[in-house]
Symmetry: D2
């Protein structure tokens, strides 16, 4: 890298002429300036700048995983980048408090002018959903119209491209499927895990049946729930059942990837699985924060416009609330906790495997 | 107030012997200390301390409103107290991040020991819901069992008592009904507001019908939505329809209180309505933050235990998610924004009324 | 306001072409892209957008106060606008967490390229300081060079203009001086307040002298402190002494404005003083949050570059830490708490004054 | 672990009888209840509960490091525990907003009653400072009196014990000194690092000398700064000079530990150094957040009581502000960034070392 370059000036380096001269108040142009339109514009610009940053980080994670070999260093970097995305997401959520300083009456002063512009049309947000791996068929649709139809042609193409390129979900799934630890050499993990699970399930069932505080009615409900849990475990141990759940859209992550992710969760105390565990955890964080943002955003919109239709012609807050749950991408990873068993019940790893999974070195740095 | 008292010592004043000696780890007692049980205990103790503070503030607001006369000063104090509750609620939400540093595997180390103890059994939280004014019939029930049946007798009585005493919702409703401004002397507000509304609705309908970006399908959906909005306005102008909605549990706030609240929202720029407006706004804040807390809490529980049954025998996260929406108390106030009309369309108040609604004084302090 | 305008498109309305195409990585241009330069650019752009919003709100407050008559409605609006500034400031502080995801080594990858650009050159931030009312002579200077010399000519003029125009501090001071309640008709507040103060001071002195837990050494230190407090009260009751403190830059707010502000603080329970009290409180909030931001920023810079010189040639973190305290504008308002006396000792207002200071109306809205 | 235990009840498990019955309002006892005293008590109890949790986590980290061998797994756990402390610290800072809903006048209603109780007397906070490793001689003292003299005998002993037991600072220092990578086998890191440093320093000096925007005056100041930086590097390469700085209390971390920490920072991209790097980073986080808390706390106190003496007889806010800086423990780690050099200038590690520092395995899990 050559170091010599011309002296930099803060204002020009940051292109502040463009950034700070991009706020045009429609209300002003049409005659009566609505004071709060400035906030409305600026906060949305800030949101879009953060979306750009999130996409930039997400792209770098996707690039790292879109390779035959993903090494320890790639995972470390991916975690750092997701950490950054997470910090940004927290800001996105907190910023809603700023927008809420605008009262509904103040919004009414210019709301009609924006028609039919709407957050629906945020290209970057759609691209973000697609790059994370939101399944096309899971999208909550509004009427029969495709979600891409709200934006203009060139933007539609960008969204389409992101829909077709490998998503983080896909790449993660492939990486998990490649995990070399699924068969721990001579260690029959799967068998031992299964017998530990059987014991635990029997115990759980007993807790319900013997719970004297429950009415007969409640007992039935809980036993039904329990049956659901048991069914999930059945699918974990039976690839055909698992695939049937995928078919029915009740599950998405492949059989092998599910096993690998579960192993990572169960044995995350092993140094070599520390970072894979963190990676999975961060993805659940990102998902949860996006869900929280959607939900908080929906509450805010509901407060701002009540039950009226949104600026883009959507029923605003209801649409947003529905997407909060439905647009989750890594829910399967979060739900893996369903399959955890206590450390005390966890099959012990043989010493030679433990040794292979950690850093061991003497005081001269020799392994 | 006599000022002389014995010298105080920080530790004793705060009863730290009791506070700091109330953490008994069941796991330790039963042989294997689970490190994270300490956090589990302490964070719940902190939650309960904050609940006590919230109830203390809420009681003072209720006391102020449980009187024939509520004066300006009472409202000012109520706003301050609600402001404090709001700041505490933000902490309650943020604290979830602390609990999330406990991983599901760490929780499993002691989770079974707690059975069937559960947040379900928090007496203060139930009392809080009742004092805010959660309608008994709106409670999301689990099986056929009453929500009070999870706690022991003396606690059940506390909850029952809070159920029967006047709630903030009831008192607010009565106070709104007493608002003296519903008839602005000779000013025919209601008629003028209605004609302004009619004009606005016609305009909104036109926007949908002329929107060329909508498919026929979408147009029908939106017109259906619009019809819903129109119906809501119809109920606003027709006491019988309003009461029918109340009957059907689609609305809760009385006809007269709804009108008063709407007037406050529309004319909140008038100094005398400034504080009533803030009061309404704070109540919506409290509601929204409680909803957000429930939702975040549900996400956290889902992550911690997956889709398994909760410690109290509930389906944990699903129950919590459902209560997030259903247990809102002041939703009618939030939804009043549905009925707002732009300031530009708002009937002007005659000067003599404006003068009566503000502070006007000359430079010697005379009015 | 005419309502008909052309249909809006989200992307164009927000000028996203300009906003999202203003990130040029110097490191990329010079051959080796430093991944984190994108974050560095975007977060600073976001900061500048928020500064623009803060200035926009601040200008509206200044305009409202830059008039002969400031009515209740102006104050209410000013409070709302300051509330918004406060929410934005909280975001500015929290955003530091995002920047801290960049490690010092990552910053080093492109840091030298930026030379000598620096946050020093943020025109908007300087304008903000000036509009709030930072006293020119209080600025912490670096070497003998004027703070405006770091920016180019047209920018220097903007800063200069803000330096010369009436600041919020000046306007607030004038508004306080005009407060009509300084003489409460026949009520001799000042005399009664003074005698209450005398009693309290004697009590405080006694507490130190009789405190057996203090060593002789400590007692002397505290008595010296006490003497300082007494001196401050002396100045409160003696205009000449007050002016001498102003001369020595130990105080800034004029004698009359200080009295008015103190009255507002002491009698803020009176409805008519509720908003003036809030206004003062918000200004202290703004000051405190700006101070906190500077301090947190300084800690972050110190962590990022250690004790090396900053990009603008400043000793970075040390400079920032020093400005945190020195660049406070409304410290005199915060320090007014020094002069508070307990409510129990507060001279009672006669009924006819209380009545004049509140809203009183019968059930028909008559006063 | 035997699983069967008696059924648990939320209220009893959390000892809520003790927790929720430990709020005695002195003002109430003495005749006039001051509403805000409840908040004052509860928030301090919450602070103490969090301090207990922080100490619990800190103890576990200290125990892990107070051993001859610290393995990868210990470091991983230490990082998790510090992560939790960090999340708690964020809450401690945010909670100040709750306390700030109490106005100075409201505090005055009961402030005198507390005399001489004060946060000064928080035993847990003193123990925390000592366990982190605050150097006795660095404590900012108030008068000639020892900081322990404010608490009663048994508490004094607890603080004393924490002063004498090995602190996290001491243990970290020893662990760093044991780092096996200080000599990278045949790789002459130190020499190459030194020559890279020399080149960088020469470059920095040139930047100042050639900077035409600087006045002669400023240039002298910056060159003086530069000389300071150079001196710091001199000490890095000369053990005697380093020790002299330690003698003069300008530095604290030992020569060998400083080198190890620096190596970790420079080569943190290597998988084996990933966690050691994070550990160092978390310690700086803890330090920074504690500093921020002290500073925010000081601002709050200053606002609450102005420039009067604190409840414990201290000059409150001034004392707190001074400790913010002086009571930092891991400042040497934060300042290590002073010695970083760009990755591009960093001596390359030979392949056989890189290989030894990472996880490499084929698709069957073999290394």
């Amino acid at each position: 890298m050559k170091k010599q370059n011309s002296p930099q000036y803060y204002h020009d380096y940051l292109k502040l002429d463009s950034i700070l001269d991009s706020q045009y108040l429609l209300s002003k142009e049409l005659g009566v300036e609505a004071h709060d339109e400035m906030l409305f514009i600026i906060i949305h610009q800030v949101y879009e700048l953060w979306f750009k940053q999130i996409l930039y980080e997400l792209d770098s994670v996707i690039t790292a995983f879109d390779k035959g070999t993903v090494n320890e260093s790639h995972i470390g970097i991916a975690i750092s980048r997701l950490d950054r995305i997470i910090e940004i997401q927290k800001i996105l959520i907190d910023q809603i408090h700023v927008l809420e300083t605008m009262t509904p009456m103040d919004f009414l002063d210019f709301r009609d002018l924006l028609n039919p512009a709407s957050g629906f049309q945020s290209v970057q947000f759609r691209v973000l959903e697609n790059k994370l791996g939101l399944d096309k068929s899971s999208r909550f649709t509004y009427g029969s119209r495709n979600y891409k139809s709200h934006v203009r042609k060139d933007h539609r193409e960008n969204i389409q491209k992101a829909e077709e390129s490998p998503s983080l979900f896909n790449l993660l799934e492939k990486w998990l499927e490649r995990t070399p630890f699924l068969e721990f050499k001579d260690f029959k993990f799967w068998e031992q895990y299964r017998s530990a699970v059987d014991e635990m399930l029997a115990n759980d069932k007993g807790l319900i049946e013997k719970n004297e505080r429950l009415s007969e009615d409640e007992k039935q409900i809980q036993l039904k729930e329990y049956a659901g849990t048991e069914k999930k475990f059945d699918a974990l141990f039976d690839q055909d059942k698992h695939n049937a759940l995928i078919e029915k859209k009740e599950h998405r992550l492949s059989y092998k990837a599910t096993q690998a992710a579960l192993l990572i969760l169960l044995y995350r105390d092993q140094p070599i699985l520390h970072n894979p565990y963190k990676l999975i955890n961060r993805l659940v964080d990102v998902d949860e924060l996006l869900t929280t943002w959607r939900y908080r955003h929906a509450l805010m919109v509901s407060r701002m416009i009540g039950r009226k239709i949104g600026t883009g012609g959507s029923t605003g807050s209801e649409y947003l609330k529905k997407t909060a749950e439905r647009h989750r991408v890594f829910e399967d990873l979060a739900n893996l906790t369903t399959f955890l068993i206590p450390r005390s019940a966890l099959p012990k790893l043989p010493d030679h495997i433990v040794r292979n999974l950690g850093f061991y070195y003497d005081s001269r740095g020799n392994k």
